[in-house]
Symmetry: C2
Subunit: 508 residues, 2 copies
Amino acid sequence: MTEFRAVAAATGEPTGPAFAVHGPADVDAVCAAAAAAFDAYRATGREERAAFLEAIATEILGIGDDLIEAAMLESGLPRARLEGERGRTVGQLRLFADVVRKGAWQQLRIDPAMPDRQPLPRPDLRLRMIPVGPVAVFGASNFPLAFSTAGGDTASALAAGCPVVVKGHPAHPKTGELVAAAIARAVAACGLPAGVFGHLVGPSNELGAALVQDPRIAAVGFTGSRNGGLALVRLAQGRDVPIPVYAEMSSINPVLLLPEALKTRSGALGTAFVGSLTMGAGQFCTNPGLVLAIAGEGLDAFLAAAVEAVGAAAAQTMLTGGICKAYQSGVATLEATPGVDKLAEGRAGDAMQGHAALFRTTAEAFLTERAMGHEVFGASSVVVACRDEAELLSVLKGLEGQLTATLHMDAADEALAARLMSVLEMKAGRILANGWPTGVEVCHAMVHGGPFPATSDPRTTSVGSMAIDRFLRPVSYQNLSAALLPPELRDDARGDGAPRLIDGNLTL
Amino acid sequence: MTEFRAVAAATGEPTGPAFAVHGPADVDAVCAAAAAAFDAYRATGREERAAFLEAIATEILGIGDDLIEAAMLESGLPRARLEGERGRTVGQLRLFADVVRKGAWQQLRIDPAMPDRQPLPRPDLRLRMIPVGPVAVFGASNFPLAFSTAGGDTASALAAGCPVVVKGHPAHPKTGELVAAAIARAVAACGLPAGVFGHLVGPSNELGAALVQDPRIAAVGFTGSRNGGLALVRLAQGRDVPIPVYAEMSSINPVLLLPEALKTRSGALGTAFVGSLTMGAGQFCTNPGLVLAIAGEGLDAFLAAAVEAVGAAAAQTMLTGGICKAYQSGVATLEATPGVDKLAEGRAGDAMQGHAALFRTTAEAFLTERAMGHEVFGASSVVVACRDEAELLSVLKGLEGQLTATLHMDAADEALAARLMSVLEMKAGRILANGWPTGVEVCHAMVHGGPFPATSDPRTTSVGSMAIDRFLRPVSYQNLSAALLPPELRDDARGDGAPRLIDGNLTL
């Protein structure tokens, strides 16, 4: 195959222009250009790099409505959602511009020489973080803007000083092409080498595999399925020089309904839960796929409200036919699982649409049928009715790693919540109270990550400013003359405004 | 085998008491205790944890000369070296106590709620780093104190709040037992659960393998051979829940002699080089195993001085008979390599002693015979005489990842050095000028790490205060009440003196 076309999410029919399918020669050329651009790009000053990120944001906004329309057609997501997502994409780029300017990511450290120290003098030692090299980014199907071509992985890698090669998601090639062209315009306008950004598209997995195996690629960012993420991890580990893969893969995002909260507002919780469950057809990494509560009147009232809301929920076009089929298959598996009752399903739609599904089970069944703990990507959720706190804790402790864990609680639940905190911290990257896990704030204190298999590397986040750390490594400079030191580590630089750790003391 | 004894490094004969060989049941018990101790240990306040690290230092000093004598007998290292190493070990523990107190490692971040933000309010988000869980530490043979039972890996993991299980190196069981007992006394004196520190010994690789595969172990620290490190990485990646392995494995630490420096002080450089090469029988991770220079009179004079110094160098007892044999085999391989000339060797010793060896080759031969780029653990070094700068750059670019890269240079070499810097940064974790790579300062700006295969994870260091970051992961707290927040993230805590990033602005 040398060409492929997008598929309209709503109809399953091919649409729009034909795109050339990239192959090994393209991977080689794009990676060679990225490697050639690396030294010049990482030598850019902080202001120059920040301005480049802002220029990308401006260029993306400059595409105008064509971008929204392409994304609507290709993803089936509604206009308001995509306009919001564009705002988030642009906001991420501007956040990283601010982070680059402030410079704390460099982690500048200076331990001055101690020539008179006994028994041995101490040399002058200085440290900074440097970018790792060209980064491969895999666009995600469910965020055609904010976690795709110019999404969080790309923004954080470019902020770190790494050229980026995007393997665009084949579900939205036109959207990807528009954004890639915007980035290329920003590259040119800022006078940077073209290799700072590369873009590869094609429908096969071989393309992505070739990219991860290219020796010039130094790290990988990925958001997608568990199988896809693990495949990339294996490829990266099998290289002559293994590289890190930051794969955000799989999470069922447990929501714990604590007893007092269930007493006072079970109905409102049930309705709000379904709002989070069905948002965007449930196609979020943080979709609440598991609810834990102690059985009783409160849970019954919660379920009554949730059942009503699910029953009223309209079917929604899913991102791709494949995702829709996988969702239906996941729901069918749950239906056939011993000890699981289907409580409600949403209104049926056409062949490209998914409709919500709500299940109930017992702690005993959940702990026996481990497949219930696997993500069903879409608006499906399992409510586990536990007999008591001990059983709830067993279920919690038996869970795999998660992106999020949510507590719905009143003040009177605080003692119970406090007992759960240390378990929740070990299970999830983000713990939230009295909200819903969908809706991931892009800020400094966000962790969108978590223990395996939520991600392949729980030491990091893929959303928020800390994401830049993924693409950096430390280098120490001993007794180098000022001329050889990086400018920000010279005595007269004062860190150019960036914080520095001098002899162990943080200095602003 | 149920018991084993130490072997005196100098004689190869069994010595000292018999030690019980630990097996799977011991691994299980020690890991269970570590897991059980984790919550209580990580809940310790910063002052409490710092005092614990200082108590370990005091207890180690309290062992007195018995420790030095045991280490001398088991490792063959001389008294002065081991007394210095004890000072470093104690210094490391105190450095981490200071780091724990200052609290920057927590990376506290607060993004306050914005209830009135349009179109959506921003929730309150707070972030801190938490310890990953029990850490397995493999004692290194070449640092029986500073990188073994209470060495840098142990100190940094304990500082992070992780219980530690040490797999003691079988080459120094008595030394390890004395230090393990000192740590256990500190654990008890500080009122901590005994499982905060565990100690396993035995001569087989199966013991270490069982430890890395135990599901309660969350990360691994290792210093040793490339084969050993890679074996642990494979085991860790093959677990149901993969875990990070921080393995410091292999480096030949290129030393570049730049032309002007060679002109002005080639003889002094040659003599000083052999001092670094033969220190501790060459048994350092940062031993200078490769010298690069442009051929000419300067290099000839350097070699003449080096040949004289090597010829005068006494044979030295090596750490173990196995290491001694591996060294001799590595030297024999170099002797048999086409295009390699042996220039000098040190004075021969007995069967447990290694003597220095110096080789010369061409850039062409070095680039052809890739095995020349592999570490020979001991006092062996290869000098590559390059025709010109271009050839020197080719050799440099062809190297694998390194712990260090050294420049010997005068002011007039600065332009050439500047051209090399970007390559050196990509090849090594530490770049030093006009010194020798042996002698690793324990401080804040040290990086003892580097690109693969120098380490399995170049994003980190195993020496210096940044080593604590290896055993932490971020957790985000959204809209949690003060009672549920970790104390250091509460509004009234002001970080307890630790720096905080508030809305993106660093606040001391």
